[in-house]
C-alpha cells in the first residue's frame, strides 16, 4: 500500500487514541475508551504490515515479524492476566521500561542500516534524543521495578557516593556525547556509546531516590517512554509515533506534577534528593503523651450511633489486605442507614490512583471514593473518621510553617468529631516525624493489624 493510504490509517489511529483517552474521563466510558485505543493500535499495526516497504521484505521478514509478535503477545498477556492489583506499580514500571527500550532499539536499527555515510542533521538529532531518553527509561524503570517489587537484589546495591555530584557528572558527560553523536552525523559508534552511557545515567538517577517518591518516578518514566517514542517518530518521520508519543509524554508530565503537588515537593527536590526545610522535629515522646488507646467494642459503639462515617485508607490498609473486610463493614453500616464515604489522598497508594484501583477491586462503588478536597469540605459534618494504615497524609503538622512536611495537602481527619486511627504502632511514616493527630483530644488509637481490627469491629457491630 502506498505511503498516503498508510498515513491516512495512521491518522485514524491517532484520532482513536485521543478519543480513547477522552473516554477515561469517566469510569462509565473508560472501558470503551481503552478498547478504542486498542483498536487504533491494531489498525496502525495492520496497515504497517501491508506498507509497500514491508511487503518487499519477503517471507523471512514476515516470519520474523510474526514470531516477534507471538512471543510478545504471550509474555504481555501472561503478565497482564496474572498480576495482582497491589503489584500494579511494578508492572507499569516494567512496561514503561520495555517501551523505552523498544524505542531506542528502533532508532538503533536506523543507525545500523543507514546506507549513506552522512544522514540529515534533524534525523541525527532525533536519533540521539531517542537513544538518550529510551535508554534512561529502560534502566530507570528497571531500578524502579526492583525497588517497588522489593527485590532482594535492590538491598545489596551499594549507594552511589555523593550522588548529586556523581549524577551531575554522569548526566553532563552523557549530554555531551549526545550532542557529539547528533552533530557527527556518521555515528555508529557514537550512538552505541551514548546508549551505554544513558543506561548508566538512568540507573544513577533512580537508584538514590527514596521509596516514598516512587509515585513521582513512575509518572516521570511514563512521560519519558512517550517522549522516546516521539523522538523515534522524528527519526522515521512517522507522524503517528510523534502524536502518540507526545500524548503520553504530556500525560506523564501532568501526573508527575500532580504527585509533586500532593507531596508538596518540587521535581528537582525529588530527583536530586535534596531535603526540604526540616525545621525543628518534635520529640515523639512529648507529642505522644496523651495518646488514648481503644478497642474494637468501643469503636463499634461509636460507629453504631454515627450518622456519617468517612474512611481514610493508606497504603498500610493494602499491605494488611484489609480492603474486603473494610467493604463488609461499610456495607453493614450502610444497611443501617449510616452514610459512608472514602477520602482518598493522591499519594495514598504507590502510584497515582493506585488506592482507587485497590478499593474498586474489593467491589467498593467508585461513587463513594472522594478526592481530598471534596472530603475535606464535609469533614466537619462527619461523626467518625476512620483512618486505616495512613500516617503522613493525615498529619495536621502540615499546617505548621516550621514542620518538615509544611504545606503538604492533607486529609483533615482531625476535624471530624471523633477520629479513630487503626495502626500497628506509633511508628512514623515516610516523612519520619511524629503525628500529633494520634494524641489529639478527639482521637482514639486502635493498635492492631488493619484487617483483624476491622473484622473485630464488624463482629462487635453484629453482636451489638
Amino acid at each position: 500500500m502506498s505511503r498516503v493510504w498508510v498515513d491516512l490509517v495512521y491518522l485514524i489511529a491517532a484520532v482513536l487514541f485521543i478519543l480513547g483517552l477522552k473516554g477515561l474521563t469517566h469510569p462509565r466510558t473508560a472501558v470503551r475508551g481503552n478498547l478504542m485505543g486498542a483498536v487504533g493500535m491494531l489498525l496502525a499495526v495492520l496497515v504497517t504490515l501491508v506498507d509497500k516497504n514491508v511487503l518487499g521484505a519477503g517471507i523471512f521478514g514476515y516470519l520474523l515479524i510474526f514470531a516477534g509478535m507471538v512471543i510478545g503477545t504471550g509474555i504481555g498477556a501472561w503478565l497482564a492476566m496474572t498480576i495482582r492489583m497491589e503489584s500494579m506499580p511494578e508492572l507499569v514500571a516494567l512496561f514503561n521500561g520495555l517501551g523505552g527500550a523498544a524505542s531506542f532499539i528502533v532508532a538503533g536499527t536506523y543507525v545500523a542500516a543507514k546506507t549513506t555515510k552522512e544522514i540529515p542533521l534533524d534525523t541525527s538529532f532525533a536519533t540521539a534524543a531517542s537513544g538518550l531518553i529510551g535508554a534512561v527509561t529502560l534502566t530507570g524503570s528497571l531500578v524502579a521495578f526492583g525497588k517497588l517489587a522489593e527485590h532482594p537484589l535492590m538491598k545489596r546495591v551499594p549507594a552511589i557516593p555523593n550522588s548529586t555530584v556523581t549524577n551531575a557528572i554522569v548526566g553532563g558527560v552523557t549530554l555531551l556525547i549526545a550532542l557529539l553523536c547528533a552533530i557527527s552525523r556518521s555515528y555508529d559508534l557514537w550512538f552505541w556509546l551514548l546508549v551505554l552511557l544513558s543506561l548508566g545515567l538512568g540507573y544513577c538517577l533512580t537508584v538514590s531516590i527514596g521509596g516514598a517518591d516512587m509515585p513521582v518516578v513512575i509518572a516521570l518514566l511514563n512521560s519519558y517512554s512517550g517522549l522516546a517514542a516521539a523522538a523515534t517518530g522524528f527519526v522515521l518521520e512517522n507522524n503517528v509515533l510523534i502524536i502518540s508519543g507526545s500524548l503520553v509524554g504530556a500525560s506523564g508530565l501532568i501526573l508527575t506534577q500532580i504527585m509533586c503537588k500532593a507531596m508538596n515537593r518540587s521535581l528537582t527536590n525529588v530527583l536530586f534528593g535534596t531535603l526540604g526545610p526540616t525545621g525543628d522535629t518534635k520529640d515523639a515522646d512529648e507529642v505522644y503523651q496523651n495518646v488514648k488507646a481503644t478497642g474494637p467494642d468501643e469503636v463499634a459503639m461509636l460507629l453504631d450511633v454515627a450518622r456519617r462515617v468517612v474512611i481514610v485508607p493508606g497504603y498500610g490498609m493494602a499491605v494488611a489486605q484489609a480492603q474486603h473486610a473494610v467493604r463488609d463493614m461499610a456495607n453493614f453500616l450502610m444497611e443501617k442507614g449510616i452514610e459512608i464515604e472514602y477520602g482518598i489522598h493522591p499519594v495514598a497508594g504507590r502510584m497515582p490512583g493506585h488506592m482507587n484501583v485497590l478499593l474498586a477491586e474489593a467491589d467498593i462503588p467508585y461513587e463513594l471514593l472522594k478526592e481530598m478536597d471534596e472530603i475535606n469540605s464535609s469533614m466537619e459534618q462527619t461523626d467518625v473518621c476512620l483512618v486505616i494504615g495512613a500516617n503522613d497524609t493525615v498529619n495536621p503538622d502540615a499546617r505548621q510553617a516550621n514542620s518538615a512536611i509544611a504545606g503538604m495537602p492533607i486529609i483533615d481527619a482531625d476535624k471530624a468529631r471523633t477520629c479513630v486511627v487503626i495502626k500497628r504502632s506509633l511508628s512514623p511514616g515516610f516523612a519520619g516525624i511524629p503525628n500529633p493527630l494520634f494524641a489529639a483530644d478527639n482521637a482514639l488509637m486502635l493498635f492492631a493489624d488493619g484487617k483483624q481490627a476491622v473484622l473485630d469491629i464488624l463482629a462487635a457491630l453484629k453482636e451489638g
Binding site: 521484505a57 545500523a112 522524528f234 502524536i243 504530556a250 500525560s251
Partner: protein, 104 residues
C-alpha cells in the same frame, strides 16, 4: 554548530523537521487538555493505558524489521518483542482494572 543549523534551515529535511515539530507541539497541548480532565480515580488505568499507547513504537519496529537487512533486522525483531509486550500487556491490564470500577 551554527553552520550546521543554517544548512538545516536551507534543506528540505529542515521543512519536514518543522512539520514534525508542529505536530509534536500541538499534540502536547491536546494531551494536556484531555488529560487534565481525567479524575484521580482513573489515574492508574490512565498510566497503564497511555503506556500501551506509547508502545506505538511497535509500528517503527515492524517497519525496521521489514525494510532493513542483517543486524538491523535482528534489532528490529527484539524491538517487536519488547513493544508487543508493552502494547498487549498494557491494554489488557488496563481493561482488567477498568472492569473493576463498578457503580452502585
Amino acid at each position: 554548530m551554527f553552520n550546521a543549523l543554517q544548512l538545516l534551515a536551507a534543506s528540505d529535511s529542515g521543512s519536514s523537521l518543522v512539520f514534525g515539530l508542529t505536530i509534536f507541539a500541538l499534540a502536547i497541548f491536546l494531551g494536556v487538555e484531555v488529560i487534565t480532565k481525567i479524575p484521580p480515580t482513573l489515574h492508574t488505568p490512565l498510566m497503564s493505558g497511555s503506556n500501551a499507547i506509547s508502545g506505538i513504537t511497535l509500528v517503527g519496529a515492524v517497519l525496521a524489521t521489514g525494510e532493513y537487512p542483517g543486524f538491523a533486522k535482528l534489532l528490529g525483531f527484539i524491538a517487536i518483542v519488547l513493544a508487543t509486550v508493552n502494547v498487549v500487556g498494557g491494554f489488557l491490564v488496563t481493561h482488567r482494572m477498568l472492569e473493576k470500577f463498578k457503580s452502585r
